[in-house]
């Protein structure tokens, strides 16, 4: 019983403590086992939390027994539990897959460090979600970011170094902005606890300091989120990072950033202030739609498939942000739903690309010729993941699109709905470029003839592909939770 009470902190602590163990073991296979074990434990905690989390309100956990607002509070409401589940579940799938991929892509002497960094990134992301303390968010954000910089720089391509550096610069600027924003809020309210902040902010909401803090936070989170036009770090980082890292970050990091956006804007500032008084809704809607169209367009012209999907990620973030920009409960539902669904799509797609990388050592479009025959299962996964990205039923992509377009139509935002659908057509174009090359072009004579990816990798890929279809048909978990949470958030914060 007492163990169950500690779930909110255990979900974070387990991977955090497992990370140094990995370094100490200093052996690849052992480190992998520890990492997988930690991820599974985190997932178990997250499932437990989702079952415990009350429909309204939250589980409050006082770190070290100090009462909030003085002590640090971990606060798990439905939204947090939902995102914890997504992040830890993706971590488990990625870990299952990682062993073979990492063996090949990471030098053996650095494997243990790699897993340690991966666990740190995981712990950081989970911590951001679990905590109820604004400054704590910044701390965990830095933990996960620093770990990600290290992870990205371990890519085999030497351009990974500059990509990591670019991300480091942009990410640090983002983190600094967030810190300044939090500082401004602290200045005016004298508290860092989110609940407390939410209670005290309305009194001082009209001050310039709070408004400046709001702006700093928006830009800072926007950078972390890769919100158009602050996304420049993302394509390179995703394209040159090791396959495992790309899949993990694409499925989790941007999702957590979106969570932070919701937590700060709607949770702390409150719906009225954030979306009615400040023009955040218009801003997000405009940037969202601009991101969808421009990033999709750029994706069409990419020759590196991983980079193409990275741009597609920027576009997909646009869908989520647009959902928030609609500023209604159904809009936020659509955003949250896509948060969940996009993790499944991109997870599956990037893992499948990792399998291609594993066999071919390249993910440029040229080398995909004939892949439909050489790696039928991997390529089928890419095709199905692609259909999900386009939004073809019965995949999760369709459900996302359905709710987003419905939310737009409810507001009478006709033209925007049309633009969203044009975004889908653009997705059709860039996905189909890959499919055509894979199924129609004969491989070049000097191409390495290869077989299918190892079973452990395929299993992880198809687990996610299956989830893409399962959650496209049974949406009790995804839509149900998203609706509950959206109603709560739009009901004036908590």
């Amino acid at each position: 019983m007492s163990l169950l009470e500690h779930l909110p902190v255990l979900v974070v602590i387990v991977p955090l403590m497992a990370a140094p163990v990995c370094v100490l073991l200093d052996r690849g296979p052992a480190a992998w086992s520890v990492a997988l074990g930690a991820a599974v434990l985190s997932l178990a905690c997250a499932i437990g939390l989702l079952m415990q989390a009350p429909e309204t309100g939250a589980i409050s956990y006082h770190l070290g027994g100090w009462e909030p607002p003085w002590g640090i509070e971990y606060r798990i409401d439905r939204l947090a539990a939902f995102v914890l589940l997504i992040v830890s579940a993706m971590a488990v799938v990625v870990m299952l897959y990682a062993r073979r991929s990492v063996e090949q892509e990471i030098p053996e002497e650095r494997t243990a460090q790699f897993y340690a960094a991966l666990l740190l990134a995981l712990a950081g992301l989970l911590g951001i979600v679990a905590t109820g303390d604004a400054f704590n968010v910044f701390v965990f954000l830095e933990i996960s970011s620093l770990a990600s910089y290290a992870l990205i720089s371990m890519g085999r391509d030497r351009r990974a170094l500059s990509a990591a550096f670019q991300y480091l610069v942009m990410g640090t600027i983002g983190a600094t902005f967030i810190l300044i924003g939090i500082g401004f809020l602290y200045m005016m309210t004298g508290t860092l606890n989110m609940q407390d902040l939410a209670a005290r902010l309305p009194e001082v909401a009209h001050t310039r300091t709070v408004r400046a803090g709001f702006a700093f936070l928006t830009v800072g989170i926007g950078l972390k989120l890769a919100l158009f036009p602050l996304h420049l770090w993302l394509p390179n980082a995703y394209a040159y990072a090791p396959s495992v890292v790309t899949a993990f970050l694409a499925a989790t990091a941007t999702k957590v950033a979106l969570y932070v956006l919701l937590r700060f804007k709607l949770g702390i500032f409150g719906f009225e202030f954030a979306l009615r008084e400040m023009p955040l809704d218009t801003l997000l809607a405009i940037l969202g739609i601009a991101g969808i169209l421009s990033a999709s367009l750029v994706a069409i012209y990419q020759d590196n498939v991983k980079r193409m999907l990275a741009y597609s990620s920027v576009a997909q973030i646009g869908y989520m942000v647009l959902g928030i920009g609609v500023a209604t409960a159904s809009g936020v539902t659509a955003a949250l739903l896509h948060l969940f669904n996009h993790a499944l799509m991109k997870g599956a797609l990037f893992l499948a690309l990792g399998a291609v990388m594993y066999r071919l050592g390249s993910v440029s479009l040229r080398d995909f010729s004939g892949l439909g025959w050489r790696m039928p299962w991997t390529m089928a996964a890419i095709a199905i993941g692609g259909l999900s990205l386009i939004g073809v039923p019965p995949t999760v992509g369709f459900i996302s699109k359905w709710y987003l377009v419905l939310a737009l139509l409810e507001q009478g935002w006709w033209p925007i709905a049309v633009l969203v659908l044009i975004g889908s057509i653009m997705a059709l174009v860039y996905v189909w470029r890959v499919v055509e090359v894979a199924y129609f072009e004969r491989p070049a004579d000097d191409a390495v003839l290869t077989g299918e990816a190892p079973l452990s990798m395929l299993a992880a890929i198809w687990l996610l592909v299956g989830a893409n279809i399962y959650f496209g048909l049974n949406t009790d978990l995804s839509v149900g939770t998203a609706q509950e949470v959206a109603n709560l958030l739009m009901g004036g914060g908590q």
Binding site: P393, V405, L406, L409, L421, L428, E436, L473, N474, T475
Partner: protein, 483 residues
């Protein structure tokens, strides 16, 4: 056996067949046997369903409920049963034909061919039995994806380009127009269930007009101009695909969707009052005439047949858009009549390709001497399309003309009659020249298509005549729609 179980079986059987085809891939004979047998069983099952179901209390099979209030569900109704009967009857016939064609033509990747074929049939059945627009849309998209590998079967650059047009137009129109139309309907009416009399209630006529336009042009599979280009493009596929999918399953799924939407989402009465329906009927009339005119200019036989299909499909759209009972009956019957006529013509085109290696109309003079049976069947199919007795096409054209008269639209009546004349000029002329004009090179005696193909041609050609003599069951079934 409960009817719900029967529904599930009908949907799953073709999908399971696809698996069976893949399993038996190393034994071509067994593989084809699986396909043909499943086809026969499927038809028997659909016929059993048609015979036992009572329309007042139709069984309903819910597969999933992805969005609260919108189930993925099957529920038979008369129009859908008609479509399912046609598709399931012609599937085994086409499979028999394909055995002869694919082997004589030495096509590669036959396993993929038969498997994708079976999945396509499953999708068509799903469309036919869909209980609501949502389910229909899902299977509609599945049908596009499943037929893509069939269209691009040859794997050449031409096939790849055609595949792009195919996928781009079909999926593009469905995402851009059909999907928002559906979501908007859900927003306005709160339901997507197919309900006799329509779902909208008191909704503004202008909104309904816009919605109807979105639905009709969003259904790219109905090949209404200007979204018809995919159909001629799809002709790069092997002939059995053109025959069953691009004369029957895919295109009929399109016009069937339009019929369903008109009858069960809008309601015929409300269609009759909408301004947009008149415009769409005019667009259909335009497509009928332009399709025929373009067909006359095509020398490639399959291209000519494709444009003829575009023209004929708009008969059904026209029937749905004039908003009279006779129009819907005519449209529903034309789904069947045109299917039998056109599939016969495609079968013949394939037979000519395989046996005489000819693809152009101008090369067919005198072919009646080498391929008399094929040419005779071609004549039957062509006359049925024209709508002359004693062939099935007579009845559907009769009801369509009746519908335009009821609606008081003389222009449209004129279009239908004019189109019949054009049909004679570009379809019936082919077998006539085949029989009467002497070939350029003296014929080398009889040289017919492979026996399985000939058998299939015989079945569909006789079907055209049978449908003229006994249209009653069909007529009663379609008539149920209006009860």
């Amino acid at each position: 056996m409960s009817l719900e179980l029967l529904l599930a079986l009908i949907l799953l059987l073709p999908a399971v067949t696809a698996v069976g085809v893949v399993v038996a891939r190393h034994h071509p004979n067994r593989r084809e046997l699986v396909t043909v047998l499943s086809g026969v069983v499927l038809f028997v099952l659909v016929a059993a369903l048609a015979a036992t179901v009572s329309w007042d209390d139709a069984p309903r099979l819910v597969l999933a409920e992805p969005v609260a209030g919108i189930a993925l569900a099957l529920q038979p109704e008369p129009l859908g049963i008609v479509f399912a009967l046609v598709a399931s009857f012609l599937w085994p016939v086409t499979s028999v034909y394909a055995i002869g064609y694919m082997r004589a033509h030495h096509e590669e990747n036959q396993t993929r061919f038969y498997a994708a074929f079976a999945v396509s049939i499953s999708a068509a059945i799903g469309i036919a039995l869909a209980a609501n627009m949502f389910t229909l849309f899902m299977f509609y998209e599945l049908l596009t994806v499943a037929t893509y590998p069939l269209v691009t079967h040859a794997g050449t650059d031409a096939a790849r380009r055609a595949g792009r047009v195919y996928l781009g137009l079909l999926m593009g129109t469905s995402i851009l127009f059909l999907l928002p139309a559906m979501i908007w309907t859900w927003h306005l009416a709160g339901t997507l269930e197919f309900t006799p009399g329509g779902v909208f209630g008191e909704t503004d006529g202008l909104v309904l007009s816009v919605l109807l336009v979105l639905f009709v042009i969003g259904t790219g599979k109905a090949a209404i101009m200007p979204f018809h280009r995919w159909l001629p493009a799809a002709m790069v596929a092997p002939t059995p695909v053109s025959a069953l999918l691009h004369a029957v399953a895919v295109v009929k799924a399109g016009v069937f969707t339009i019929l369903k939407v008109s009858v069960y989402l809008f309601g015929i009465d409300s269609i009759a009052e909408l301004a947009a329906a008149e415009w769409l009927a005019a667009l259909a009339a335009l497509t009928i005439l332009l399709g025929s005119l373009v067909a006359m200019t095509k020398d490639n036989l399959k291209a000519r047949l494709a444009y003829s299909t575009i023209s004929q499909l708009s008969y059904i759209v026209l029937g749905a858009m004039i908003g009279t009972a006779a129009g819907v009956v005519g449209g529903g019957m034309h789904v069947v009549m045109h299917a039998f006529g056109k599939i016969t013509l495609f079968f013949c085109a394939g037979a000519i390709l395989v046996a005489a290696h000819k693809t152009c109309v101008s090369e067919l003079d005198g072919l009646g001497r080498t391929m008399p049976l094929t040419m005779l069947a071609f004549l039957v199919g062509a006359l049925s399309i024209v709508g002359l007795p004693p062939f099935g096409g007579t009845w559907s054209k009769w009801w369509l003309v009746q519908g335009t008269l009821d609606a008081g639209t003389w222009m449209l009546t004129g279009v239908l009659l004019l189109s019949s004349l054009l049909n004679i000029a570009y379809l019936v002329i082919i077998p006539i020249r085949g029989f009467l004009i002497a070939p350029a090179v003296p014929s080398a005696g009889l040289r017919e298509a492979p026996v399985p193909s000939l058998l299939a041609i015989g079945v569909t050609a006789v079907g055209c005549i049978v449908l003229f003599l006994w249209p009653d069951p069909l007529f009663r079934l379609v008539g149920e729609v209006l009860q």
